[in-house]
């Protein structure tokens, strides 16, 4: 029986360089992981962190609640790895994100794949840099339900936490 052990931890605002650094840290531990688990973890981690800085990098200019800085961690538990990402998010972004998460939560794998492909079809030539399918991709990969929460920080921000389990087998 494993004791829960944190194998990766970072607190602070994320950017591309930090995500790369964390990926390399994960890679250093990859020998201890099953290859398919490692591949899943890599996909989920990148999509979680890219999603994380999408809501923070250009949108949050000043933020001085140190207790609510973005955090990413991976915890090694008995039967799965628990990936947790938290970040502040503006109130104005919450509804759209919540709707997206709720729809993901309700769909099974075939529904997720159909929705994923429909978005890709619609977004091929959109002006958005990314098609906005990162969370759906995570759900397709892990095939477990997400846990998420929004905690109030002040009248401008909420603290969004997304928790994902990756089965070890």
């Amino acid at each position: 029986m494993n004791k829960n052990k944190c194998i990766l931890y970072y607190k602070g605002f994320f950017n591309y360089t930090i995500v790369n650094k964390l990926l390399n840290e994960l890679l250093e531990q990859s020998e201890a992981l099953d290859i398919s688990v490692f591949n899943k973890m890599q996909i989920v981690m990148v999509e979680m962190l890219e999603n994380n800085y999408r809501y923070t990098s250009n949108k949050i200019i000043s933020f001085d609640h140190a207790d609510f800085f973005p955090v990413f961690k991976i915890i090694d538990e008995d039967k799965f790895y628990r990936l947790i990402a938290s970040n502040p998010i503006k109130y104005e972004d919450v509804n759209e994100l919540k709707e997206h998460l709720e729809k993901i939560y309700c769909l099974g794998l075939s529904g997720l794949r159909k929705w994923y492909k429909d978005i890709l079809k619609d977004e091929i030539y959109s002006v958005k840099q990314s098609p906005g399918i990162g969370l759906i991709r995570i759900a397709k990969v892990v095939r477990n339900k997400f846990k998420y929460s929004f905690q109030e920080i002040d009248n401008k921000f909420l603290y969004y936490t997304l928790e994902i389990l990756i089965n070890k087998k």
């Binding site: 290859i35 492909k117 399918i133």
Partner: protein, 132 residues
């Protein structure tokens, strides 16, 4: 038109657009910091090439191979890979022989499923090939 070759980096793929041998290869990891900047020139060159072929070649005799051998791609990259494929789709629907080889490590890998999904979106059959 000139060939285009871009060496891979830790987080960007190798690109080999070989006009003389009629092949396009995208190999490695696709997670560029600025995905638009990375794929912009590639897509521009492919667009120009495809338009030139559409106007100057007998398409029934034209063949072109696209090879994707990715060990990782982020969701942002999938949009630009689809744009590349969308240009070749114009030739495919005019009876040119366009083959797409999509390599994967394991059928349980996300890359395998990505190949199935992208093929379904773009409506061109992919040869899903296990990496040797």
């Amino acid at each position: 038109m000139e060939n285009l070759y871009i060496e891979s980096t830790e987080f960007t793929p190798k690109i080999n657009f070989d006009i003389n041998n009629r092949k396009f290869e995208l190999i490695g990891t696709s997670r560029p910091e600025d995905v638009v900047a990375f794929y912009e020139l590639i897509i521009f060159k492919i667009g120009r090439y495809v338009n030139n072929i559409l106007h100057n070649e007998k398409l029934e005799d034209f063949h072109f191979n696209l090879l994707f051998d990715l060990d990782y791609m982020n969701s942002a990259s999938s949009k630009y890979i689809l744009q590349i494929l969308d240009y070749f789709k114009k030739l495919y629907y005019k009876k040119a022989k366009i083959t797409v080889d999509w390599y994967y490590e394991d059928v349980y890998d996300q890359i395998f499923e990505d190949g199935e999904d992208l093929s379904d979106v773009i409506k061109i059959p992919f040869n899903l090939r296990p990496r040797k």
